[in-house]
Amino acid sequence: MTSPHIRVAHLRKYYQVHEKEPGLMGSVRAFFARRYRTVKAVDDISFEIAPGEVVGFLGPNGAGKTTTLKVLSGLLYPTAGEVNVLGFTPFKREHPFLKQITLVMGQKQQLIWDLPPIETFLVNQAIYEIPEAEFRATLRELDDLLELGPLIKKQTRKLSLGERMKCELAAALLHRPKVLFLDEPTIGLDVTMQARIREFVAEYNRRHGATVLLTSHYMADVTALCERIIVINKGCLLYDGDFRALIERMAPYKVVRLHFERPVTCAQLQAFGQVEACDGFTATLHVPRASAVEIAGQLLTQLQPDDLTFEDPPVEDIIRDLFAGGLEPPPPAMQPDAPAALQLSPRQTTP
């Protein structure tokens, strides 16, 4: 068995922040007697990531995602716990370590603001000691995947946000890092550009077998790229495992949308599943995942809707439920005609 690329054991990162009351008096008081409060940005989390894995790192704002990425890349040193990336202790920032990783932060940049990206690329070639032939090959490949084209010769400050992000990624990957930490790489980008960046990350992972740990607020990034997710909230680990399994556990139902030519009553529909909405002509039902096809058949034959669609529940909702209520034990199977089972949506089971 290969050893993991990333190993985190009981990581804690606490900050001391000083509190200041508003106004002039508050400032004066803060000047003479600062009051400090400990913020537990990360509080005892452990996980391992194998070589080549693409893992989504989810959590609401302030959950501790960026802090963890900064600890893993070596920008922050941990308050307690063990962190090991590629066999190195990150916060020592040894050059052989730095040459094998990269951290892309959607809101920070390494491109030299007033110069075209190619200037930053050339600087990186020198400081990462990339041989000329390899540099050219990598640049060609990145150009091919990201369609950089003329962008690399345009002043960075004149690039659009999406164009700049593409060049940031290129600059961050010229040395072909084995481990990629991507912190909100698609933030602020339009849908097309988000998709392009996603495809690129997936392709880079395929071609180079790189390990990727990615945070994003866009669920599409995570669904497209990650089989495994790690969810944290308030510095604590909520879930670590298969993404699909989580969805099935948090939302053991499918969403059925119906449209009728002749009106039906809500009572008629309740026999088939949990009624979410119903106005006589259109209706939305939650039906158990396992018997969804069977129920659809019954609906078609008994109520004869002129349109019926199946959907997975929105991932955003599932994750929101997880953030709000944590991970509940798997609920019992939902029975279509048992009134008690109608209460089983995770949103309703959590206080």
Binding site: Y15, Q16, K70, S73, G74, L75, L76, Y77, F91, R93, H95, L98, K99, I101, T102, L103, M105, K108, Q109, Q110, I112, D114, L115, E119, T120, L122, V123, N124, Q125, A126, I127, Y128, E129
Partner: protein
């Protein structure tokens, strides 16, 4: 070899940036015109006769050479560092396999190249056209001058770098940098040759880094120093440089730990 390549690449990018900011650099350079104003003042005073042994042509030589030295030793690393810390741009820089200070050093050097392209022809012409100027242009003096200017730059860079590192603790380190600039104007001999200061003040100043930042290199070329004077001045510069490098190294290590603890 790796270092040479890295510095060449950084210098290349620095040069492109210098050309981008050429107008701004010319404006920064104009702050050194203060020395030309001081020259005019001292020429007015010395019209009646030499001041403490400084004739009118001595003043011309002092301030023109001083102007060159001031341009060659200009530093702004504290501003860069303060901005990098405040904006968070230091974080990506720390993750590259080269210390962030090397980029600053490389960029300072190429900027000096740009300044010299403007300053040197003007200074040479002014010195050549002023009657009665005699400079010490023997090999020893010229080499000593070049070395002393480099060391003067190094000391100023380290002082400013130390101020910049204070950004890890305070968000107002550039105020300190401005204050330091004011002190340096007086104590380095920028507004008046230190030879005109009372002897007691000169004796005290000798134990500070300030005379070695401008007054000392200028006096080498003016031929006002004995070989022993040059040697002891260079030794003092080396001492201050070494102290600056060690202090910067220690304070950086402490500061970066704080940065890593509080919010990279």
């Amino acid at each position: 070899m790796r270092w040479i390549r890295a510095y060449l690449a950084l210098a290349r990018a620095g040069w492109a940036s210098v050309l981008e900011y050429r107008a701004q650099i010319v404006i920064w350079m104009s702050t050194s015109l203060l020395m030309m104003i001081m020259l005019a003042v001292w020429l007015g005073i010395s019209r009646a006769g030499p001041v403490s042994g400084f004739s009118s042509s001595d003043f011309v030589a002092y301030f023109i050479v001083g102007w060159v030295v001031r341009n060659l030793t200009a530093v702004w690393v504290s501003w860069e560092l303060e901005y990098a810390v405040r904006s968070g741009q230091l974080s990506p820089a720390l993750l590259r396999p080269i210390h962030p200070v090397h980029k600053e050093i490389a960029w300072h050097w190429v900027e000096k190249g740009f300044r010299m392209a403007i300053v040197l022809p003007i200074a040479t012409l002014a010195l050549a056209l002023t009657p009665g100027i005699s400079l010490a242009l023997d090999l020893l003096s010229v080499v000593a001058f070049v070395v002393s200017v480099f060391l003067a730059w190094l000391i100023r860079f380290m002082i400013d770098y130390l101020i910049g590192i204070l950004s890890f603790w305070s968000s107002q380190s550039t105020a300190l940098s401005t204050g330091m600039e004011g002190i340096q104007l007086v104590l380095t001999g920028t507004i008046a040759p230190l030879a005109l200061f009372p002897q007691a003040v000169q004796d005290v100043l000798r134990w500070t880094p300030f005379p070695y930042l401008l007054n000392f290199p200028v006096e080498i070329v003016m031929g006002r120093l004995s070989t022993e004077g040059i040697a002891s001045g260079l030794a003092a510069q080396l001492g201050w440089s070494a102290l600056g490098i060690v202090a910067a190294w220690v304070v950086w290590r402490t500061g970066i730990r704080r940065y890593a603890a509080f919010g990279a």
